[in-house]
Symmetry: D2
Subunit: 365 residues, 4 copies
């Protein structure tokens, strides 16, 4: 499915950066999930650029729930949310037509769409397309929350500045709802802001790492092989623009570990099986084991920078220099944070609905 | 699809570690692809444990092509390969029934399958299940090869020993067909063998990192969002037992980079657009850009170790100590190498068939 | 996929009968297909009730193409069309809440959605949901047309009145673009109108049969088993409200035939293989054989009738009598006609894109 | 999915008519379903030709359950059943190579597979491929049976002879387990045998209609649109070779009905909502309504007949006459009966697992 993610609970996107409207269709969500427009608005707000560290494009993200909600709850029918694009400037992009912006999809898109693509603002490749994903993701997060499944993502690293690790999950998730840069450690956030501002001053940008945690997931969800929890989550996460790596639990650190360090010892604690460490990130053999689901996602630096770059004009087949103008984020990792939350929530709703049936997430059970 | 990977070209697995036979069904492969049993046998041989560094279980991997091949070529009908399990010892596993081996799926599987699962040798969670995947993957690799698309995976790191980077791809791919530990640098391989042997002596195991490269892929394959090349490849790669992370191009190193370091400059070289670096790993905006596809996969240390480990008996709900016996690999990263090749080839065949049609990989075009 | 049809070219629906907007997302369509809003409008007009034989609900079907079209052609990105619902009357439906309208989904929906469903006007079960399907179907039909693949559906039978068979396909398809009741024989149409009017006068309704033909399809499309052309087409056609049967070629008449009557003899005519009859309806072994694709679809009588009917109140669990009011069609078979065209076009675009690649239907090939 | 049917519970086929083995993989079935080899053998026996009315090809259908069953119950892992082909005669088919047998897929297959197809005995188009489908279908039927969901298919019509309608479902289903021609009325069966024998004597064949009923299905299963119960069932049923039409409830008779005749009146009977008639066949709005699921499937006459037929040689592009030899059934409708049961059971297991979760059909709930 090229443009639809999921099996039982699915999401379909539509829109382009500079179209009049963009949107997402969430299908298969259980009936009876409370939908609060303020929650959706708050999720969208977390995705918007913070003044001083972000693009000058200002989108109020005015949205409307077009279908699937009746009397404040999901009906079980497809739930469509449409968001208006208001701050659209066609002229910005015509001048670069044919020039492959390094780190962007321009040339790849041209080879796929043969010049018919809507190139304005990256078209459907734009980070703007994550706004409707965040909107429907907020509905999925609310459904999980009502089942005691909580989740959150922090900026574990940005521009060489590291956040502290997750501690008390519930408290940290709450903190992250309003943490400006999505970091748990306020001092690290201050430092990160300075680093981002410095990169912006140089006309450059920085990358970072997101860490996501989910608590309250039942054990026994996922499949041993092709639909392992890692498989389906990474499938979703890699669709987020700029994500280039996904790793669960100890992730790439496993390479330097011994088995005796990598294995999580099991103990019965308060009558419940737990592992004393969580190197596995809550998944063994592709299946949840009841421990918190933990994974990291790397977000590359914004490719739109203001330094002069070498490129080609793929219309003319010749070399060219490119110096971008316009309005761009010197970092997107913190803006990708609610997108990671949204994708995680959507994928987990799908896995849970497959495992426990279509009513599981609704209020009828 | 829980047990089937792909959309146009698909693979379905069956079998368990200690069943009589295991197999895979490859569907949707183009008609007219030459199928050479020696090539399949060679791929299976690369997956078998190397004497001295691997499990004592000895499987000759006797296989038969049950369907889908006629007069030495694919017919276009489902191609099934069945492999016999010969070295099966039921008794080994009964003693541990109910004990959650740390790092293994035992408890997760119990919560999913409620005790009905075939627990012998890990059942369908066993690395043994990758043998039929490698077998049908060899057919996919041959189909790609005939289109000028070459691929290979080396052990970039194992037990703290690092291989050299890919140089001349074609030559390196050839080297890897017979390199004993799947490393390009022979001295590194010697060192790695010693490290693995030392871990084995301690009753422990080591992890590692695989790096895969693919050359000759056309630009313009993949989707901007949910079926990005990264999404579909990671979906497949994370189904390989013990894989806990997947990263494309510069991967997690992007976190510490600036945009000016991360972006790949474009130039016209010999009349063809290329990037001077390949930090993107051949994919931008989810779509191939004509540069080599490059990604890394982390493989955790074999969880089966001989040290005494803390665990629980999930039947009794009480703590227990576990000291494994039996026959296990002190490292599996090199054995996962042909599996990564196979998954990569299968996923790419699927993407290419979707993009260019079902005849593209066959000899009729 | 509960709410998305197709594999390479897909359609996703959203909306309810009495929501503000309804829509459809067409994904995977080739880039470069000309999109003419007048063509879409004409298809929607064919779906609207004809004055005198249809519901009093009047919907102008004002639509907007929200995404996926740039400079008048498809971009290859998801194409979303949104249609406004203007003639919405909430009050009509509250009175019947809890009463299972015979022939409708009320009780089934209640058992699925537990009372959270939007019951106004049938919610997502409404025939109104076929409007966006027709709109995106018009884009698919245009793409096929540009490849020389023509299609059309006539009302072969309604209320006991029979239309003539297809003759000159191209001419008949043209006639059907404006034929008021979708019949090829004008006299039959007059008679049918009278029959429908008489049923309406009695507060009753009538059923009918649609026959669809497609010319110009290449041979060799479809799959031998689970994705036979019949399988995927019927999957789509049975999603049209009120459709209860689908049959290809001679269909249910095969039951009374001998093999010697059922088999289509092959001959070379003008250097091209053709069958002298077309009992198979253009499909043998699940695969197109180059002859016109022909199938029939039965549409049950509109269940909304004005006669008093026996029913239950499923809230109270007791018997009740029901006498519907409101505005309903005495026949929907002719309104289902453009929906059959749309579903046929969408499914064929999917099959062709799978077979020949994603560029096949676009202007880049 | 070209070669895999279903979403949560799936089936994948492999093999060809004249390969050494054929098989099916059933994935996603709940753990804990009792698997009785005698039940599988009995289902396969119902598919085998009855002496005197069927092909001379004699296949004992020796099968083995290769995976997915442990201690007599499903494990939840993929369940593969392999059947040996024993009565294979290569030479029979070489002579006709290039001749398009009327009513068969030869020409369509050639246009799809370009001559690489295994043409012996119809290859993967052969009715032989339904044997493994019946085998895994028997497991699905057993799972449904344990939940009180019963099903059966009778030959409602063959060669112009009509069976009586279903009466007491449970008793009739039992009768059908051993009814030689799959008819409920023994006298009709006698008459049918004579008709089939007469057709055989003429070197001809006859078609027929199957009627399937399912009792005990909960209300609220299926989707309003693209995955309506009718959509997913017809998708499966049309993959059965020779099936050309599928109709639910009153089916094509709806065309001649008024709404007042077509609607099923609801009443509360024994505290439970029922409809007094079942014209809808147990499905309204695409969703089960708690009444027996009823549908009819038309099976065309066996295309392999012994009369001289007009055809073409598609290698040479010229006309030819064809007089088939070999061993063929003069009727296949009764042999398609257990296949319809199998497909129905598999599709319903999938729908139920999607609706109520993956444990629903197992013994753990």
């Amino acid at each position: 499915m090229k443009n639809t993610l999921g099996t039982s609970v699915t999401v379909t996107l539509f829109g382009e950066s500079h179209g009049r409207e963009i949107g997402a269709v969430l299908s298969g969500m259980a009936p009876g999930v409370a939908v609060d427009e303020a929650t959706i608005a708050a999720a969208l707000a977390r995705r918007r650029p913070t003044v001083g560290t972000g693009t000058a494009r200002r989108e109020p993200d005015a949205f409307r729930v077009v279908s699937g909600v009746f009397h404040g709850k999901t009906t079980g029918a497809p739930l469509c949310i449409v968001i208006e694009n208001s701050d659209v400037r066609d002229g910005d992009y015509e001048a670069w037509r044919g020039l492959a912006r390094p780190g962007h999809a321009d040339y790849a898109a041209y080879m796929k769409y043969h010049g018919f693509e809507d190139y304005r603002g990256g078209g459907q490749f734009s980070g703007r397309m994550t706004a409707p994903l965040v909107a429907v993701g907020a509905v999925a997060e609310a459904a999980l929350f009502a089942k005691g499944i909580l989740l959150g993502t922090h900026v574990a690293e940005v521009g060489g500045v590291f956040d502290r690790a997750f501690g008390d999950f519930a408290a940290d998730f709450k903190t992250l709802l309003t943490a400006p840069l999505g970091m748990l450690d306020e001092k690290a956030a201050e430092k990160a802001k300075a680093v981002i501002a410095a990169a912006a001053d140089e006309g450059d940008s920085v990358g970072g790492v997101l860490e996501t945690a989910v608590t309250g997931l039942p054990a026994g969800v996922g499949e041993p092989f092709f639909d392992s929890v890692e498989s389906v989550l990474s499938h979703g996460l890699f669709s987020i623009p700029a994500v280039k790596g996904v790793a669960f639990g100890a992730g790439f650190d496993f390479a330097g570990m011994k088995g005796s360090e990598a294995n999580d010892p099991w103990r019965v604690v308060n009558g419940r099986p737990v592992t004393l460490t969580n190197k596995s990130g809550g998944v063994t053999g592709g299946i949840t084991n009841g421990m918190p689901l933990m994974f990291r996602t790397v977000v590359k630096p914004t490719p739109s920078i203001y330094k002069t770059q070498q490129t080609i004009d793929f219309f003319k087949g010749e070399n060219a220099d490119l110096r971008l103008q316009g309005r761009h984020d010197p970092a997107v990792v913190h803006r990708a944070r609610p997108v990671a939350d949204a994708v995680t929530a959507l994928v987990l709703c799908d896995l849970l609905a497959l495992r426990y049936g279509t009513d599981y997430l609704g209020s009828a059970t």
